[in-house]
C-alpha cells in the first residue's frame, strides 16, 4: 500500500487554517453528516476504520470511545492531548498550524459520539505560537456555530477550551494530564479506575491525541472501509512521521503506515548528513527501543512490523544517528531527560532514573566498571513494569536496548587503569611505634 501518496492530515492547500478555506474544501461536512447519525453509529464507523491512537500506545480509538458510559449523571469530558513532550516528536503542532479545523472538527465528532459536554485541549506551555493559532481557529468555529450551544441548530452542545501546560513531560500522560487540569500536581493516577469511569473531576473522560482526533473527519467523509485499507491494515491510515537527527531534511512527513524506514530516511528526509552510515535509529520517539543501523533494511513503520524488532511505533518520531554518534552520550542525555521528568511519585522510577544517570555518567567520564553494565541493566529491569505509569518503562527501554545492541560501546569505556586501593589512615590515627 505504499503507493498511497495522498496527504490527508496536512494537504498542500494554501491557507487551510483559515476557516473559509477549510469550509471550501469540504470542511465541517463530516460534522454535519454525523449530526444526522446516532452516536453509536459514529462509534461503529470509527471502530470499523480500525483507527489506532497516535499518542504512543496504539490503542484502538473506537474501542476506547465505547468504554464511555452511555448514560451518566455526571458531565462527560474529552481531553485532546497536545502536550507533545516526547523528545523527537513535533507533529501535533503541524496540525495546529496548518490544519487546526480538521482537529477541531474531529474533536467535535468525537464529543458527539460520546455525549461529551466539554473538550479540553491540553497543549504544552512552550507552544505559545500554536496556542494562539488554535485559539483563533476555535474562536472562528464558535462564531460559525460549530462549537457552543445548539451546534448548527441541533440539540448537541459542547464547549472547547485550551489548557496550556506548565512544562512537564509527565503531564502528557493521560491521568497526570487530568490532575493538571484539575489544578493538582501532575501525578499519574493508579489505574484502575480508568478515565472512562473516573476521569476528570471524577467524571467519565476520554483522552485522545491531537493526530488521532484529526483522522476522524476523514473517516466519516470517506468511509471506514476506505480508511482501513490505507497502509498496513492492522494499523491503517497515514502517520505524521517527524524525522530528526543526522538527516539532510529533518521535518514532518505524512506517509501511510507500513512505509519503509529507509524510504523515509533516504527518499523523503534526504539521506544521512555527509552520506555517512547509520549507527542507530530510534523509531518512534525517545521512549521506544533502538534499532541498530545494520538492521534497518526492510523495516516497515507500523505497529505490527516493529514488533519483530522488539520496538514500537510510539509517536512516529524518528531519530537518526550517524556513524560518528557517541551512543553512550545520547543515552546519557535520554536518561537525564527521564530523570529530570520523572514525577517522583513512585519509588522505582524516582530513585532508579537518578541512579541510572549516575552510572551512565561514570561511563562518560571513563570511570565505568565492567560490572556497571549489568548493574545498569538490572536497575532498568527493576524499574520496568513496577511503576505507576509508563514513564518508568519509557526510561528503562532505551537503556535495555542500548545495552543489548551496543554492549561493546560500554566495554570500550570501562576504566582501564584499576583504582589503587590502599588504606591510608588519617594523620591523627598514625601512631608511632614505641
Amino acid at each position: 500500500m505504499s503507493d498511497f501518496t495522498e496527504k490527508l492530515l496536512l494537504p498542500e492547500i494554501p491557507n487551510l487554517h483559515n476557516i473559509d478555506v477549510y469550509e471550501q474544501n469540504s470542511g465541517y461536512q463530516a460534522l454535519r453528516k454525523v449530526l444526522e447519525m446516532t452516536p453509536d453509529a459514529v462509534i461503529d464507523v470509527v471502530k470499523k476504520s480500525n483507527l489506532k491512537g497516535r499518542g504512543g500506545a496504539c490503542f484502538p480509538t473506537g474501542l476506547k470511545w465505547s468504554f464511555m458510559p452511555k448514560q451518566s449523571s455526571k458531565p462527560k469530558y474529552l481531553c485532546a492531548n497536545g502536550d507533545e513532550g516526547e523528545p523527537g516528536t513535533f507533529k501535533d503542532r503541524q496540525i495546529f498550524e496548518f490544519n487546526p479545523h480538521l482537529f477541531i472538527e474531529g474533536s467535535l465528532i468525537s464529543a458527539y459520539a460520546m455525549g461529551v459536554q466539554v473538550i479540553y485541549v491540553y497543549i504544552r506551555g512552550e507552544y505559545v505560537k500554536w496556542i494562539n493559532l488554535l485559539q483563533k481557529a476555535i474562536d472562528d468555529a464558535y462564531a460559525k456555530k460549530y462549537i457552543g450551544k445548539k451546534i448548527l441548530g441541533t440539540n448537541f452542545s459542547t464547549e472547547m477550551y485550551i489548557f496550556p501546560g506548565a512544562g512537564a513531560y509527565i503531564c502528557g500522560e493521560e491521568s497526570s494530564l487530568m490532575n493538571s487540569i484539575e489544578g493538582d500536581r501532575g501525578y499519574p493516577r493508579v489505574k484502575p479506575p480508568f478515565p472512562a469511569q473516573n476521569g476528570l473531576w471524577g467524571c467519565p473522560t476520554t483522552i485522545n491525541n491531537i493526530e488521532t482526533l484529526s483522522n476522524v473527519p476523514l473517516i466519516i467523509n470517506r468511509g471506514a472501509e476506505w480508511y482501513s485499507k490505507i497502509g498496513e491494515p492492522k494499523h491503517p491510515g497515514t502517520l505524521l512521521f517527524g524525522i530528526s537527527g543526522h538527516v539532510n531534511k529533518p521535518g514532518v512527513y505524512e506517509l501511510p503506515t507500513g512505509t519503509l524506514l529507509t524510504d523515509i530516511i533516504y527518499k523523503y528526509a534526504g539521506g544521512v548528513r555527509d552520506n555517512k552510515k547509520i549507527k542507530a535509529v530510534i523509531p518512534g520517539g525517545s521512549s521506544t527501543k533502538w534499532i541498530r543501523g545494520e538492521e534497518i533494511d526492510g523495516v516497515r513503520m507500523d505497529s505490527e512490523a516493529l514488533k519483530a524488532y522488539d520496538t514500537s511505533i510510539g509517536t512516529g518520531g524518528i531519530i537518526v544517528m550517524d556513524d560518528d554518534t557517541d551512543v553512550l552520550k545520547v543515552l546519557a542525555r535520554l536518561i537525564h531527560f527521564y530523570h529530570h521528568e520523572s514525577c517522583g511519585q513512585c519509588t522505582p522510577c524516582r530513585e532508579g532514573c537518578g541512579w541510572m544517570e549516575k552510572i551512565i555518567k561514570r561511563f562518560i567520564a571513563g570511570e565505568g566498571k565492567l560490572e556497571d553494565i549489568d548493574l545498569l541493566l538490572n536497575v532498568a529491569n527493576n524499574i520496568e513494569g513496577n511503576t505507576v505509569c509508563a514513564l518508568g518503562d519509557a526510561a528503562a527501554w532505551p537503556v535495555q536496548s542500548v545495552i543489548k545492541k551496543f554492549r561493546e560501546e560500554f566495554e570500550k569505556r570501562v576504566r582501564k587503569i584499576p583504582i589503587e586501593k590502599k588504606y591510608v589512615p588519617p594523620p591523627h590515627l598514625i601512631v608511632e611505634k614505641v
Binding site: 524516582r350 537518578g354 549516575k358
Partner: protein, 559 residues
Amino acid sequence: MVKITIDGKQYEVENNLTIIQAARESKIHIPHFCWHPKLTVSGNCRVCLVEVEKMPKLVIACSTQVADGMIVHTNSEKVIKAQNAVLEFILINHPLDCPICDEAGECKLQDYAYKYSVGESRFEFDKVRKPKRVELGPNVMLDTERCIMCSRCIRFCDEIAKKPQLTFTQRGDHVELTTFPGECLDNPYSMNVIDLCPVGALTSRDFRFKARVWEMSSTDTICVGCSRGCNIKMWVRNNEILRLTPRMNPQVNDYWMCDYGRLNTFKHVNAANRIKAPMIRKEGKLVEVGWDEAIAKVSSELKAYKKPEIAAIGSAFSSNEDNYLFVKLMGILGVKKLDIMPHIKTGDQDELLIREDKTPNMVGTREVGVKPDSNEFGFSSIMNDIRHGKVRALYVLDDDIAADPNIAEALIKIDFLVVHASNENETVKLADVVLASSSYAEKHGTFTNFQGKVQRNRPAVATLDHDRILDGMELSRLDKFGSHNDRWTQGIKRDTRATWRIVNMLATAIGIRWRYNTCEEVFNEIAAAIPAFKGLSYLKIGTNGALLNLKKKSVTVKD
C-alpha cells in the same frame, strides 16, 4: 464473598476488598509504606507488589481488588525480587543515620530493610541532598532527606484533618515535602503525621532527641483532655512521661488524637509543682504531714459541722471509682449538697475528635451519682450558700475550681476547705487540708466518655503506692535490666494516693468499715449497684472499652 488463594491457602473474603485488605484479615502481612487503612490508596511506594496468576505483571496489593478464583503469591521469587529492588531503591537516597534518628526502633523502613532487602547496597554515589530541620509547623519537624515520599502525611491533612496544608514540590528524586505557600502545618491534628510517617522524616518537636524508643515502657491508657477519651499509649522512661501516642480504637478515635491532648495532658505529672505529700495548714501555711495526721484532721473537722453546712464537689476529671466512693461516703455523712463543676469550652468542638466538654468523665461522674437531688443543691447554689455563710465546710475532689476568680472569692469565706490535688493550684492555695492525690497516669480507674463508653486507664508512672514490678506495670528494658548505677533507673516516686483510696482511708477514720483493696473491687461494686454499669468488668472493658447500658441514647456515637 469470593474465594481466593493466598500463598497456597484458600480464604473466603468480602468481594469489595483489595488484596492487601484481604491478606490482612487473614493475618498475612504484605509490606507497605504508603497504604494505610484509613487513608485513600496512593499506590506509590510499590513495596506491596504481589504476583497474581494470569496477570502479565506484578500488581500492587493495595489497589487490586480481589476476584473469585484469584491466586495470589506474596512470597514467590518474582515478588521477593521486586521487594528487594524497591527497598534498594528507597535506600539509595535515604540517609543511614539510624543511630541518631528518633524513629529507629519503630521505623518501618528499618524493619523492612531487615526483612525484605538483600542487606547490602550496590549504590556507590553521593546521595541527593535536601533541607534538614525544616519547621513545618509549631509541633512538627521535617528532615527532607529522610522522607520516602509515601504521601501519607499529605493525605492525612487533606482527608482526615480536612486542612490541606502539605504538598510535594519538585520532581523525581528531588521531590520535597513542604507546606503550601503561606501555610504552616498547624491544624489541631498535625502531630498524627508523625505517627503516620513510616520513617523519621517527621518528628515531634516536643519529643525529638529525648529518648530511644526502646528505653521507654508503653502503657495502654486513655487521654483525659476532653470527653472523647482517645485511646493512647503512654511512654515512660525513668518514671517520667515523655510522650503520648494514639492507640487505635475504631469506635472512639481510630488511629488519631489531637495535638492538644498529646502535648497538654501529661506534663503536669512530672512538673515541679507536684504535691508530694499531704499537707495541713498550720499557722497560715501549708506544711507537709503524714497521711494519718491529714486523714485524722479531715475526719475530726467534718464532725464539727452540721450536715447542711457541708458541701461536696466531685470531679469529672476523676474516675468512676473515685467519684463513686466519694458519693457513697458523702451519702453516709448525710451531705446533700453535692455536684461537680462543669468545664465546657463552647465552640471548641469539631467533627473529628475534639469535644467541648473538657473533662474526661462527665457521663460517668453523673452515672455513679454525683448529681444534686434538686437545683438548690447544685453547683451555683452551693457557691451562693458559701457566699451567704450557709455552707462552711467544703470538700473538693480533684478540680481546681478556684481557677475561676469569682469562685476563689467565695471560697475565702469557707471555714474548712479540704481538697484532693496532684499539683499546686488556686484551690490548693486556699485549702486547709490538701490530700496528695495521684494523677491519672499513676492509678487504675475507669472513665466514661461522651459516647457512654467505659474505658480503663492504667498506671504508667510508679508512686510509693504503685510499684512498677510488684503491681505488674509495663516495663521498659531499663526497668527490667537497668542497675542502680544507671542514671535512668532512679526516677522520683511520690507519696501520692489514688483518690478512691484516700476516700477509703477517710471512711475508715470516720469508723466506716470498708474493705476495698483494689480499684477493681470498687468497680465491681459499681457494676453490681448501678444499672448502667451492669454486666461490666475490667475484663470486659479490656483495651477497647465497653458501652454503658444507657436506656435512652443520651449520646450519639460518631465514628
